[in-house]
Subunit: 124 residues, 2 copies
């Protein structure tokens, strides 16, 4: 019955809990990992970061990689998100692990993440 | 270990999966229900609606009530969201149930929902 209630997706909108867990591919169609969750501005409701998870792939463990939300492109054929990320770029990408302190997600961190991925940092 | 990775919340941001399930109160401090999920614009990343769930309260079953995202105010003391909604206003509020067809979440529906709650519909 709960199933019949859920609106998962329309042309324009997607349910937050449908985004979480969705597979992420690179442009070569290689599976990179999945969306762990995303970070939303409390006031504006704007998703600033998608947090990607690469569970054990490439020996990267379950590190969390925040990327600018706008880098996610939904591909209806693949049924997942495509990001223009080469595997090699992940090596030095901003991430947090059990060994590193959690990021503050402040503007300093934001400029670091957006800067790494070459996306203009749009927040004040 | 997964616990140590998660960034649930900062001053400005909140994790999507932290929003889901959070309790919703009215301004009198009465528990109304919880946030089921929220509907995000795929392109802009903007949360347009929070979908509230009132599990069995007031005989309302598990209906889903979409409301404009901006109506949610996070209250750190309560540890939940406060919305300026009187219980009586829920009776005729836009909602979907197992008996009703799922909404299309198009602009017609959007104007209906935002209009009901007296919030200007900001989308084209």
């Amino acid at each position: 019955m709960a199933e019949t209630l859920a609106v998962e997706e329309t042309n324009r909108l997607i349910a937050s809990d449908r985004v979480e867990g969705t597979t992420v591919y690179n442009r070569a169609g290689e599976k990179l990992g999945s969306v762990k969750n995303f970070m939303v501005d409390k006031r504006s409701g704007k998703a600033d970061y998608a947090v990607l998870q690469f569970g054990g792939l490439f020996g990267l463990g379950s590190d969390h990689y925040p990327i600018p939300w706008d880098m996610l492109i939904y591909d209806t054929d693949l049924g997942g998100y495509v990001v223009d990320i080469d595997k090699s770029r992940l090596e030095n990408a901003p991430r947090y692990t059990a060994e590193h302190a959690e990021p503050a997600y402040d503007h300093v961190y934001g400029r670091q993440v957006y800067g790494y991925w070459g996306v203009p940092y749009p927040f004040i």
